[in-house]
Symmetry: C2
């Protein structure tokens, strides 16, 4: 049992808190939360034992989980490592849960306490945010990615592996740069397509009642990610810009190929494109 510090008590941090306590990994959970409304809610819901300042949280925790949007994490992770250094805390570990990894890796590359940081990304979430969005079992069976594990001390890596194991995650190892390429494909661009779909329908369909009346399950599932908030997603697109743009370009090409086939009434080509797309059945259950 460990003392866990969680910086950022939103969907991910809060859901980790629930399961790490429930499953006996955490002895005590101390939180840091900049937003006073979220902080009060996190305490009221019982996600954390107390909400304190950053230094106190780091000093009282064995493992610090940084679960804030990637822009903020870029400053916070080095700050936590600074505190480790200042206080001579050689056994503590800090991990993050961010959706982009390369810029983070660069920000700590030469930090004297680099080996106490484990870069990680639990691939789970919902379109909701804040401590009230936290749910048990969020990470069950999902991929828990550990990046650049050779840059961290084996002991620190082992701690994070045990933590993800407690959450029943499937551990996957890759380097930061590959991580950012792959997540651009299978996560970041599907958010852009969903945002664009919402914008299209909201602009074209002025009468919201029609959207509400006619939206079938198919539309709802495709547009679901468009409910995801800008605080999380703006910095992801900024930090993973080159990869995201490359995938978007391919995507726009595919849309144009569809557009042309439909415009030309080329039934065979439309059928052909759909059949190619159907191959996703082999991969996604």
């Amino acid at each position: 049992m460990k003392n866990i510090g969680i910086i950022g008590l939103g969907l991910i941090g809060g859901s980790m808190a629930i399961d790490l306590r429930r499953k006996g990994f955490a002895e005590q959970i101390i939180g840091v939360e900049a937003d006073p409304v979220n902080a009060a809610a996190a305490q009221k819901i019982g996600l954390v034992d107390s909400v304190v300042g950053m230094d106190e949280c780091v000093d009282r925790s064995d493992v610090v989980i940084v679960s804030v949007p990637v822009g903020a994490a870029l400053k916070l992770i080095p700050a936590v490592l600074d505190r480790f250094e200042q206080t001579g805390a050689k056994d503590k570990v800090v991990m993050d849960v961010c959706s982009t990894k390369e810029m983070l890796a660069r920000s700590v590359k030469y930090h004297p306490c680099r080996r106490q940081y484990v870069a990680s990304h639990p691939m789970s979430g919902t379109e909701y945010s804040g401590p009230w969005a936290a749910i048990p079992g969020l990470f069950e069976g999902r991929a828990g990615i550990i990046c650049d594990h050779q840059e961290s001390s084996p002991k620190a890596v082992r701690t994070v592996e045990e933590l993800y194991d407690t959450l029943n995650m499937r551990l996957i190892y890759m380097n930061s740069s590959n991580h950012d390429v792959h997540t651009a494909y299978v996560s970041h661009v599907s958010h852009v397509t969903s945002f664009a779909l919402a914008l299209t329908v909201l602009e074209k369909e002025k009468d919201e009642k029609h959207i509400f009346d006619l939206a079938s399950g198919g539309f709802s599932s495709t547009v679901r990610l468009a409910k995801s908030g800008p605080d999380m997603w703006t910095p992801i697109f900024m930090q993973n810009r080159d990869n995201v743009l490359r995938v978007m370009d391919t995507y726009i090409d595919k849309m144009n190929a569809f557009r042309q086939a439909i415009a030309e009434g080329d039934e065979e080509q439309v059928r052909n494109l759909i059949e190619q797309a159907n191959k996703i059945r082999r991969i996604i259950r």
Copy 2:
């Protein structure tokens, strides 16, 4: 209780068969199915009492449901009305369940038995097809659209209203042309975006294992519709071409706006686009 004929024993026809029987609307259900494998399966599963030829099905049914892809329906609905005329069957009703309506409406506009046809679209489905995809409760709470009801006899409309009522659908009335505009927005284009996403990921991510390992719930729900088959969707895009192209153009504009904001590192504009897209929360639960 009525004798129901179902032409096309796939997901929609099969799911209607299950609930119309279960809820006591149908006395007997007779099917027509061109594909011998599907026909044998539909009988084995027990969706229908027997599978017969088209004329026999029409002659033995009070209500004929045409549940085939829109291309085939374009020929079948006039053929069913022809049979009504030949046999002097003035009390029978034929309805369809197709996702595009304007071309169908044109195909029967001057048919002497036009008033025995009710154009309808139950807005429900899954990404699977065939009789084995049929499930109970598929239509529960969904929109059941009746188009151009003034072109049908009040008695025929009432029959279809009762049928949809039995399936617990919410009845909505509109003309064919508006139907095709609205469904382009909230259904057809979300299929194109999903197909394009699948094509993009399959092309970019050569290693399928990575897609499988990393696909989170968000990606899966966005790409789900890309499992939908070409037999259903090719004719929809062909028949609703102008509306679909118009919405696709707006969509491609939105993607380009996103692309530009990300490429320029314009954080404020990215945030702004996401916030606008988030308004979909007001409409989709």
